[in-house]
């Protein structure tokens, strides 16, 4: 099992930076914080992902690179607008009131 030597925030920033590097169409990454769980929960807004009309999240176990359990979901920009209008639900426990957004300009500056 990996040890959590790095803070969650620094790991999130590394993941976000890497994903913006890799994905040209990635517009924004939202980090859903929670004091109740030591998991990193990210919602990525990317026009390349299939628009399935739901938020599908996938769990990845800690690794040397990401020493926290990681949950990632991808939605299109149109689906993100529907989430904001509460027409598509976020996974249970994810709240729009408690997230931090990373835009490409912020990260790549």
């Amino acid at each position: 099992m990996s040890q959590n030597h790095k803070s969650m925030e620094s790991v999130v920033k590394e993941i976000v930076q890497k994903h913006f590097d890799l994905e040209e169409r990635l517009e924004k990454v939202l980090w859903f914080k929670s004091e109740a769980t030591p998991k990193i929960r990210l919602l990525e807004i990317n026009s390349e992902t299939p628009a399935t009309g739901m938020v599908q999240s996938f769990f990845f176990r800690p690794s040397d690179e990401v020493p926290y359990p990681l949950i990632i979901a991808e939605v299109t920009p149109e689906e993100w607008q529907k989430i904001l209008r509460r027409e598509i639900n976020l996974p249970e426990g994810w709240s729009l009131e408690n997230h931090k957004a990373f835009a490409r300009e912020m990260v790549m500056a």
Binding site: T49, A51, F58, I72
Partner: protein, 170 residues
């Protein structure tokens, strides 16, 4: 009389429960071999749920482990899917083409297809002559599934059983 549609629904239901097992194994952080075993089984049955309707030889498809890649090639021509996802046929084909290498890696996890390569079920002798149990093997495929292409393939694998009736049976 059991017809092809009955076979379709039987494979579909098994694909759904295998997928649930995969998701549960992920959340509980079970060893990689078990998670990939469930993923291989879910995708094989998902593929068969569609292919069994068209294949002329029923026995050939029910006994084969090659189903996911063929399934993806077939569904990329599905008009309802284009409409549902708001993509053109060429966009969908291009997207699926990018996912096929990972789908192939999942498909050949089946021991019958893996030959001397890694499989998530049985110990094997690797190329250097070492005896390797799946439990001790790290499976590079798991890193591919964490990539954006991997996540998109997982999205489809979850989406198709959920929408199967609407897309393929109505």
């Amino acid at each position: 009389m059991i017809d092809r549609r009955d076979w379709q629904l039987a494979f579909l239901n098994q694909a759904r429960t295998d997928w649930e097992a995969y998701k549960k194994a992920e959340e509980l952080m079970w060893p990689v071999c078990h998670r990939l075993h469930f993923l291989q089984m879910a995708t094989e049955k998902l593929g068969k749920a569609l292919l069994v309707a068209a294949e002329s030889n029923l026995g050939e498809i029910t006994h084969s482990h090659s189903a996911l890649v063929k399934f993806m090639r077939v569904v990329s021509n599905n008009l309802d899917l284009h409409l549902q996802l708001g993509l053109t046929k060429s966009q969908l084909k291009a997207q699926f083409k990018g996912l096929l290498p990972i789908a192939h890696e999942i498909e050949i996890l089946a021991p019958a297809l893996a030959q001397d390569g890694p499989n998530p079920e049985y110990p094997r002798l690797d190329k250097s002559g070492c005896l390797c149990a799946p439990f001790d093997y790290s499976f590079p495929l798991i890193r591919l599934l964490e990539s954006h292409q991997g996540i998109r393939l997982l999205k489809y694998i979850e989406y198709f059983p959920a929408e199967f009736e609407k897309l393929f049976l109505d």
